[in-house]
């Protein structure tokens, strides 16, 4: 009737008729998987996914060969391998998130974020005490080491990419060597050079210093990568308008690399948020809230988790899992915060 009105179409989208045989084959593979699982010694989630993947790949291959002939063999196998590869990458990530959520959720309770462990023990019933002290300790560590490493890392990256001044090659070498330093060595270094030799004793600040050693190379190298992506004709355009190099870097290069520099910061924080080893020597460990980052022992979430795991009772294990969950949520919300804050300017 409305033949003169042309409707928008998507001819490249598969019609239900084209999808049906593939869906049928997939469900066949699914039932075959369950059948095999029941008959053989294969079992568990991993076995299920593995068999389902193998069967559906085989089914897909047969279907494609029937439909498109021999030339579809390589195509189909390559497609399955790529899909399999990405599953291998994604499975552990989702597995970690899922397991943490599953185990950690039982340890969540109201006083978790309002109380410390100063009047409770790890083997007490779950409802006693909380991890406020560890949460505050971790936030102190992240903030202090970020305040130290982000400016240092970005300025080093600017020196290496923009100024290319004397010693650039040596600094580049040092940065690379630093990113290979085992984290426990960073802790030992601060212990022997700061805690033993200066008035600064084991505290949040000392812990943050050791984490900064790990964070600086990450921030530097990522910042360098993103600064190199800024096209050089933008720098030339700035210089050609009578700007000094400093002005060009500040008003053009850094804003152009802004999002990348925020990513560099996030990666740096991610690098250190879960570190435990350097804190053994530098943080001390405490069970009560310590609001002074420069004095006295403090705790951190990884420390809290480690303590809970080492005791091994059901209550302490549940506490450890909820500590991991809180740590993941904390880091994740920092990411989201930095991302939204970083891209705000481009939304108007």
């Amino acid at each position: 009737m409305n033949s003169e009105i042309i409707k928008p179409e998507k001819p490249w989208v598969l019609t239900p008729r084209q999808v049906a045989p593939r869906a049928l084959l997939f469900s066949l593979a699914f039932f075959a998987t369950i059948f095999t699982l029941n008959l053989t010694s294969f079992n568990g989630k991993l076995g299920f996914f593995f068999l389902l993947f193998a069967y559906s790949s085989a089914a897909n291959l047969t279907y494609n060969v029937r439909k498109h002939g021999r030339k579809a063999i390589g195509e189909s196998i390559a497609g399955s391998l790529i899909l399999g590869g990405s599953l291998v990458v994604f499975l552990p990530v989702f597995s970690i998130l899922f397991t943490t959520l599953q185990n950690g959720i039982s340890g969540l309770h109201f006083t978790l974020f309002t109380e410390s462990m100063s009047e409770a023990s790890f083997i007490d019933p779950i409802g006693n005490g909380g991890l406020l002290h560890a949460l505050i300790g971790t936030i102190y560590l992240i903030v202090i080491s970020a305040v130290i490493s982000v400016p240092m890392g970005i300025i080093t990256a600017l020196y290496l990419t923009e100024i290319k001044g004397p010693g650039s090659r040596f600094i580049q070498f040092v940065v690379q060597a630093m990113s290979g330093v085992p984290s426990v060595v960073a802790g030992l270094f601060i212990f022997s050079s700061v805690i033993l030799l200066t008035p600064i004793k084991a505290s949040s600040f000392a812990g943050a210093l050791s984490l900064a050693i790990l964070m600086i190379p990450t921030v530097t190298r990522t910042s360098q990568e993103v600064l190199l992506l800024v096209p050089s004709d933008l720098r030339e355009a700035g210089l050609a308008m009578g700007a000094t190099q400093w002005k060009t870097v500040v008003t053009i290069v850094v804003p152009a690399a802004r999002n990348g520099l925020i990513t560099a910061t996030i990666l740096g924080v991610a690098r250190i948020a879960g570190e435990t080893a350097p804190l053994i020597f530098t943080l001390g460990g405490a069970d009560k809230v310590n609001l002074n980052p420069f004095k006295d022992y403090n705790s951190a979430l990884p420390f809290y988790v480690w303590k809970g795991l080492s005791l091994g009772t059901p209550e302490s294990l549940a506490r450890a899992w909820s500590g991991i969950l809180v740590l993941i949520v904390l880091v994740l919300s920092l990411f989201i915060l930095a991302r939204t804050f970083g891209s705000q300017k481009f939304k108007k």
Binding site: L234, A237, A240, G242, K247, T251, A256, K348
Partner: protein
């Protein structure tokens, strides 16, 4: 890495007296200035500055790319530099506003005089030179993190200049660059959303905002379609009333359309040289040098 001292020595030995060697060149500067005098309208004093290049040589590392180029750009004129790729045109104009020195391994010899003062004088503030000699590049390069309006005024911020009325300046520059009517309703939008031709006119507006006396254009239309090219040519003709323009182009029709003087560059495998310079009509109708005639008539070789 090149040893700067050695390079210096080499420069001196190749060209002990740049000024002297340039005056010995056949394309005498006297002829040009005579023509310019004839062309100049009485009472119509141009606002731009004169620019003079004397005996310019340029090197990249050990590679001698430009040999003894002397050119006089009179105030308020448009000079087109033509010639095949690799003959040193772009290198030459980059020596004029001291952009040449940003390329690693670059070296040069000779003098560039802006209103009679050498821009390579050690006591001179190089950022002031680049402020007076603006540049438009081959590829449109608006700043991606800034809006259209911010792009135009970026030079004010970069060079830390004081301006009384930014809105007036913004409008003036965009009008002069022939872009105002197209962007006046979206000055707050990002420059990346403009077409290639609009982006290039935005870059011209940006260069104009710092009030340069000379504008260097390095193949400004090579990435643009014919329509945008014509618009930019109109802009160039309009701008030439107030400032001195040097334009590198591969498009000979463009050189013929927009320029008062044309200079032909050529490299015979060695360093690039300036073969001939003269009023544009003369270069295209009765050039002195056979090589120029071959090039402008399309019988190149």
């Amino acid at each position: 890495m090149e040893n700067p001292d050695l390079l210096e020595e080499k420069i001196m030995s190749t060209d002990p007296n740049p000024a002297a060697s340039s005056s010995a060149k056949p394309n005498s500067l006297g002829d040009i200035s005579a023509t310019r005098q004839a062309n100049r309208q009485p009472g119509n004093r141009p606002l731009g500055s004169g620019l003079e290049a004397r005996g310019i040589h340029a090197w990249f590392g050990k590679n001698h790319v430009l040999e003894d180029v002397s050119l006089d750009f009179a105030a308020g004129t448009v000079t087109a530099l033509i010639g095949p790729s690799g003959c040193g045109k772009s290198t030459f104009i980059r020596t004029l506003n001291r952009m040449h020195e940003f390329i690693p391994g670059a070296a040069m010899a000779g003098e560039v005089l802006l209103d009679g003062k050498d821009v390579y004088d050690p006591g001179i503030d190089v950022t002031k030179i680049r402020l007076q000699i603006g540049m438009v590049f081959q590829k449109p390069n608006p700043f991606p993190s800034m809006t259209i309006g911010e792009n135009v005024l970026s030079g004010i911020k970069l060079a830390q200049l004081k301006v009384d009325n930014k809105d007036d300046l913004l409008e003036e520059c965009l009008v002069r660059a022939g872009l105002w009517s197209e962007v006046k309703d979206r000055l707050g939008a990002h420059a990346g959303g403009l077409s290639g031709g609009q982006q290039q006119r935005l870059c011209i507006a940006r260069a104009l905002a710092v009030k340069p006396k000379v504008l260097l254009m390095d193949e400004p239309c090579s990435a643009l379609d014919p329509g945008s090219t014509l618009r930019i040519e109109d802009t160039i003709v309009e701008l030439a009333k107030n400032i001195t323009i040097v334009i590198v182009t591969h498009n000979m029709q463009q050189a013929a359309r927009v320029s008062d003087y044309t200079s032909f560059f050529l490299s015979d495998g060695g360093p690039g040289q300036m073969i001939e310079v003269g009023p544009t009509s003369q270069i295209f109708s009765r050039p002195v040098d056979q090589r120029t005639e071959n090039y402008v008539s399309g019988r190149f070789g």
